[in-house]
C-alpha cells in the first residue's frame, strides 16, 4: 500500500511544485477552453493566449521565487 501511495505522491509531485504556478496554469487553460467553447472565441486565438499566458505565469513564478530568496 505504501508503494502505491509513494507512486501516487511522486505522480502528483511531477505536476505540482509551485502550487501557485500549477493553479494559475489550470485556471488559464480552463478560461481559454471556456472562451473557445462557450463564447465562440477563435481556437487559434485561444492557442496564442495559452502561449502568452503560460509565459506570463512562468515569469510571475520565477520572479516571486527570486524575490523571496533576495529578501
Amino acid at each position: 500500500m505504501s508503494i502505491i501511495r509513494l507512486v501516487a505522491r511522486e505522480f502528483f509531485g511531477m505536476f505540482v511544485d509551485d502550487g501557485n504556478l500549477a493553479l494559475l496554469a489550470l485556471v488559464l487553460v480552463a478560461a481559454v477552453a471556456a472562451a473557445v467553447k462557450l463564447l465562440a472565441m477563435p481556437p487559434l486565438l485561444g492557442g496564442v493566449l495559452l502561449l502568452v499566458g503560460c509565459l506570463a505565469i512562468l515569469l510571475q513564478s520565477v520572479r516571486r521565487a527570486a524575490r523571496a530568496v533576495k529578501r
Partner: protein, 251 residues
Amino acid sequence: MQTLTPILPTVTAAFLASFVEVVEAFTIVLAVGVTRSWRPALTGAALALALLAALVLAFGPLLALVPITTLQFIVGVLLVLFGMRWLRKAILRSVGVIALHDEEAAFSKETAALSQQANDRRADYLAGLASFKAVLLEGVEVVFIVIAVGAAHGQTLYASLGALAAFVLVMLIGLAVHRPLARVPENALKFVVGLMLTSFGIFWTGEGIGADWPGADLALLAIFSIVTLASFGMVRWLRGTYPVSAGGFAR
C-alpha cells in the same frame, strides 16, 4: 509516411528527459551496489522495471479508447504543468536561486544512509528497497514522458526508442566509469527538456481546443522558439534584477 518534423522533437524530448531521470536512478542503484552488494541493487531495479512494465501494459491500451482530441487536451495540460515545473526549476537554478542537483552529493547521502543500516539484519532488504524505489520513482516520470510526448500523435514507439536509447547510453557510460555521472550538464538538459515539454503542452492543448496551428506541426518549432527566447530573457532579467549573493542559499 510520417515526416521528421514531429518525430525528431518527440524522440529528442523523450531521450533527453529520460537521460536525466535514468542518471538519477543510476546514482542510487550504484550507491546500493557499491555499498551493500550488487544483488539487492539489481534485484530492486529489476523488480521496479517489471512493475513499471506491468503498469504500462495494464493502462497503456486504455489510451486507445480516449478520443484523440480529448487525449491531446489532457496530455497537453499535463505537459504544460510538467514542463513548466521543469522550466521554472531550470531557470531558478541558472540564476542561482536554487542549488544545482549534485549527483556526487546524492551518491554520498545514499552511501551514508546504507552504511548506517549495514548491521541491520534486514540490510539487504533495505538496500534492495532503496534501489527499487529509485528506479520506480524515476521510472514513473520516464513512463509519463514517453506516453505524453508520444501518445497525442501516435508516436509512442518513437518516444519509447528515445527513452530506451537514454537508458542504454547511461548504462554504457555507467559501466565504463563506475561512478556517479556527476559531469552530466543536468541543468542544461533539464532546461532544454522543460522548453520542449512546455512547447509540446501548449501545442497539444491548443489542438485539443480546436486550434488549427498555422504550418501544422511546424508551429511546434515556432512555439519552442518563442518559449526559448522568453525563458532566456527571464534568466537575463533575473540575473540583472535579483543578483544572488555567493555563499548564500543559492549557488
